[in-house]
């Protein structure tokens, strides 16, 4: 059974310090929702509140329509995968998997069947009699997932489950986790600080900063139409280029006036006023190297194999270009840059909120 999770004006304080400032969020049944944000943004605290491991200072958390603020974690019918995996070190893999079932008094036959099924799905059959210390990082990760799976909970909670794995294994586990979700179709809430994990795994992303939600949306919505400059810079790698300056009305349209005599045309749908302080965001891959474009001095090149990143200065402002190819540029070269005006993001200089209408 899959269920929805609803958060209403949820707040959390430690003494006088409020760390979660009134979060409203509806997580649909069967959805894979990713909470992402920098360290200290409150994403883990929020997840732990949903799990019942932290008290809710104010507001309501509902699971399947029922307010669970005062319900013990044991009675919420949730399962959680911890960053440290939290495997019981003195128990074998089999005993680890069985622990939650024993606590819920499953019959021996049903217990064995559930353990066998999880072990098959996760490839743990040959490891059932080993202790956690005899397993590799990836295997431990699988056991942690198995422990959550055998319980067949209504909601899965993941607290940065892949951060302790090396880069290659992380990519592999990312794919497996996503496949597992497709198969189990359970509501899942996943916390990470890694925007790539968020982009690749989420049905929807919730981007948090300092205890508030900056933006909620599908991964590509956040990428293409960031609501704030913070979202724009958090999502995407290499990071979006940001140019600070003033909006200047020239003819029917506006341009950004910045750096050493730089004038960048801006999209028509941005609501701007002459002289308004603004931030313009250009994704590195939206910039093309072309003769006759905006003049840019090359400071550094970074070969990635598939492409060569070019770092330079556009009228004195540092900028990164991801051309999607391997341009033959050297340090100190002057190159020309072009961009599609429609791709530019425009944010207010003070509030840093998007000024584009279709964003």
């Amino acid at each position: 059974m899959t269920v929805a999770v609803n958060l209403r004006r949820v707040r959390k304080s430690y003494g006088a310090a409020e760390v979660i400032h009134g979060i409203d969020l509806d997580i649909a049944s069967g959805e894979f929702l990713v909470l992402v944000g920098p360290s200290g943004c409150g994403k883990s605290t929020l997840l732990r509140m949903i799990a019942g491991l932290e008290d809710v200072t104010a507001g309501e958390i509902k699971i399947d329509g029922e307010v669970v603020n005062d319900v013990d974690p044991a009675d919420r019918d949730i399962a959680m995968v911890f960053q440290s995996y939290a495997l019981y070190p003195h128990m074998t893999v089999r005993e680890n998997l069985a622990f939650g079932l024993d606590a819920r008094r499953f019959a021996a036959a049903e217990k064995s069947a559930k353990i066998a099924e999880a072990a098959t799905v996760l490839g743990l059959e040959s490891l059932l009699d080993r202790y956690p210390r005899q397993l590799s990082g990836g295997q431990r990760q699988r056991v942690a997932m198995g422990r959550a799976m055998v319980r067949d909970p209504r909601v899965f909670l993941f607290d940065e489950p892949l951060s302790n794995l090396d880069a290659k294994l992380r990519v592999q586990m990312r794919v497996e986790l996503k496949a597992l979700h497709k198969r189990l179709k359970r509501t899942a809430i996943y916390v990470t600080h890694d925007q790539v994990e968020a982009m690749t795994m989420a049905d929807r992303i919730v981007l948090m900063r300092c205890g508030v939600i900056e933006q909620v949306g599908k991964p590509l919505e956040l990428y293409d139409r960031p609501a704030t400059a913070f979202v724009a810079q958090f999502i995407g790698s290499p990071t979006m280029n940001m140019l600070r300056g003033q909006a200047r009305k020239i003819g029917a349209g506006f341009v950004l006036e910045a750096g050493e005599n730089l004038h960048l045309p801006l999209p028509q749908d941005a609501s701007l006023q002459d002289g308004q302080a603004i931030l313009v965001g250009l994704r590195p891959e939206h910039l093309q190297i072309a003769s006759g474009g905006l003049p840019c001095t090359v400071d550094l090149t970074e070969p990635l194999g598939r492409e060569v990143l070019v770092y330079g200065r556009l009228a004195g402002v540092p900028i990164c270009v991801a051309p999607g190819s391997r341009p033959d540029t050297q340090i100190g070269d002057m190159i020309g840059l072009r961009y599609e005006v429609a791709n530019a993001c425009v944010f207010d200089g003070q509030s840093e909120r998007s000024l584009r209408h279709d964003h």
């Binding site: 013990d72 939290a86 019981y88 622990f99 939650g100």
Partner: protein, 306 residues
């Protein structure tokens, strides 16, 4: 620059070749003073006591060789086996009370209670005080004429048995003093172990649906078990060789009811000046402790052997 893989390979091979071993003197020089000190105050006296236990001597000089006569003397005269039984009762009494008591204190102090640091500090005190001072304190508390305990019990209409004349009361009183002195060690050990149990594990068990009793029984207890066992061993060894508490409080009386192996060793060697017999007793205590410790280490090893 070209780095040759062949050269790298050769270097690796060189590591495998047997090298002439150079003896580093420096580390030995560093621990030599400590070693000499320990040898002087520990190994040499132990060795000498072992030698003495085979000789009949009334002074620190060796007399004539008597084989195992001192050992049979120690056990077959002057209630030798009774003192062994008393020792076992004293050790068991201390361990059975001090370990659960220390464990519970550690559990309480591991919770976020008010004035936790204050209690932690205060409860360590008995361990810092020398056994001699502790024994004097308890002898005073239990004294039949002017002690605090008989006075307070009298107030509520209970007559406390005389700890100087009643064998059971005497043994109980030395066990109480020993428990008082041993509990802090257990508490510190268990508290350290409890604090090293990762919070994640307890939280995972909560999410897994385990009750607080089950979390304690299945997660916390197994994870602090080895440390607790270590505390049991140390408490036992400590109690087994304890002399001060019994000597100060009851001097082994009444009528040998609290005479332990350790106090008998003291009495044989320094009251009756039968150094050889005392040494035989001391060697016996040493061997019993050694066997007990080795057995414990073996149990721990087999459990970790997996």
């Amino acid at each position: 620059m070209i780095i040759s893989g062949v050269q790298d390979g050769e270097d690796l091979l060189a590591l495998d070749r047997p090298r002439r071993r150079r003896i580093e003197l420096f580390p030995y020089l560093m621990f030599a003073p400590a070693f000499l000190l320990i040898a002087g105050v520990s190994f040499i006296p132990i060795g000498y006591a072992i030698v003495q236990s085979f000789f009949r001597s009334n002074t620190l000089q060796l007399g004539r060789f008597v084989g195992l006569a001192n050992y049979s003397d120690f056990f077959f005269t002057r209630n030798g086996f009774e003192t062994l039984a008393n020792s076992l009762i004293f050790v068991a009494g201390t361990v059975i009370v001090a370990v659960p008591f220390g464990f519970v204190l550690a559990m309480v102090l591991n919770r976020p209670i008010p004035f936790r640091s204050f209690f932690r500090t205060v409860l360590i005190f008995p361990w810092l005080v020398s056994n001699l001072v502790g024994a004097l304190l308890w002898a005073w508390i239990g004294n039949p004429q002017y002690g605090l305990a008989p006075y307070l019990l009298d107030k509520i209409g209970v007559t406390m048995p005389n700890i100087i004349t009643n064998p059971f009361a005497a043994m109980s009183s030395v066990i109480v003093a020993s428990v008082w002195a041993s509990t802090p060690l257990v508490m510190v050990f268990v508290l350290a172990a409890l604090q090293s149990v990762p919070t994640d594990l307890i939280e995972a068990a909560r999410v897994d649906g385990a009750s607080s009793w089950r979390r304690f029984w299945k997660i916390t207890l197994p994870l602090v078990r080895n440390t607790t066992m270590m505390a049991v061993v140390l408490t036992s060894l400590h109690a087994f060789k304890n002399v001060e508490i019994v000597l100060v409080m009851t001097s082994g009386g009444p009528n040998g009811a609290t005479e332990t192996l350790a106090t008998k060793v003291f009495h044989e060697a320094f009251t009756l000046f039968r150094i050889g017999v005392g040494s035989a007793g001391a060697v016996t205590i040493f061997l019993l402790n050694l066997v007990f410790t080795l057995a414990f280490v073996r149990v721990l090893r087999t459990e970790h052997g997996a």
